[in-house]
Symmetry: C2
Subunit: 144 residues, 2 copies
Amino acid sequence: MSEHNLGHEMLAAMTKSGWRITDQRRMLAQIFTDNAGYLSPKDVYDQMSMKYPSVSFDTVYRNLRMLSEMGVLEQFYFMDGGLKFKGSCVDHHHHHLICVNCEKTLTFEYCPMEQQMELPGRYKILNHRFEVYGICEECQEIAT
Amino acid sequence: MSEHNLGHEMLAAMTKSGWRITDQRRMLAQIFTDNAGYLSPKDVYDQMSMKYPSVSFDTVYRNLRMLSEMGVLEQFYFMDGGLKFKGSCVDHHHHHLICVNCEKTLTFEYCPMEQQMELPGRYKILNHRFEVYGICEECQEIAT
DNA sequence: ATTATTGCAAACTATTTGCAAGTGA
DNA sequence: TCACTTGCAAATAGTTTGCAATAAT
C-alpha cells in the first residue's frame, strides 16, 4: 500500500533529518497518509485534537512548517489566501485540478512548461505554478 | 497615454458604480496608474501617506477590496501568501512572468488552457492559474 | 441636506515566539 | 542524561468592523 509508505516515508525523513519521533509527529504522518487532499492548519489541529486533546496549535504549525521545509509536505496558498498542506509526491512533477467547492484535488501530468513558449524579458526561470479550478462531479450533482 | 486612461477608467468605474470620488480614491487611481506591478496594501498605504499623512490602513483596505470586487484591480496571493494588487488588464487574457526578487511582472500571451489537454475527473472547469517565476535581467546582474 | 466615506480604536484571525516542563534517543 | 519537543501564554502581523466626525453629491 502506497498509503502506508507515505507515513513511513515521512517518519523516515524526520529521523534522517535528526528529528525525534513524537506521538504528535507520528499522528501528523498518519493524517497526511489518510488524507490525499489539502488540509489547513486548523483541519490538522482538529484531527489531532481528537486523539490528543491537549495538542496545541503552535505545535501543529511548527511541525507543518518543518515538514514542508523538508519537502515532505507541499505548502499551498489557495486563491483566497488560505494556507493548506498536503503530502507531496516527490516522485514526479504534476499539476492539480482542484474543486473550488470541496477542494478535492486530482493530479494530471500535462505541464505547460514542456511547450516551447516564448517568454519575454530574459528572466532566469526558476519555477512555475499551474492549477485548474472547477467543480468536481459530486459537487455538481449536489448543486443541481 | 494609456497610463492616463487607466486612472480615468478607474475613476469612471467608481462613479458608474455609484461611489464618490474622494481625494484618497483619486490618489489610489494615480498610484496604480504609475505602478505597473503588484503592490501590497502596505505599499499602497506608504505611498498614500506621503501625500495624506492622516490616511488610515482600513481606508486603503476598504478601497482596495472595493476596486478588486469591481474588477478594476486584480487581487493576487503570492507564493508566500502575501496579498498584492495591481491594475487589471480587462481587455485580454494573459499570464504573468514574475521576478521572485523584485516582483517586476511581465505579461505573456501563451495560455496552457488553449491546448487540448486531458483532465481527469469530469470537473466543470471554471478558471485557472498559471504563473512563471524567475529572476529578471536586472536582478540577475545585481546578484552577480 | 443627505448619505457615503473617512479615521480612529478596537476586534479579530492567523501565525509566531519565549520559556518552563515534559519526553525521546 | 541531555538535547529536542511540547504546551501555555503572550506577542505579532494582517485584515476587518463599529462608530462618530467629515466630506461628496
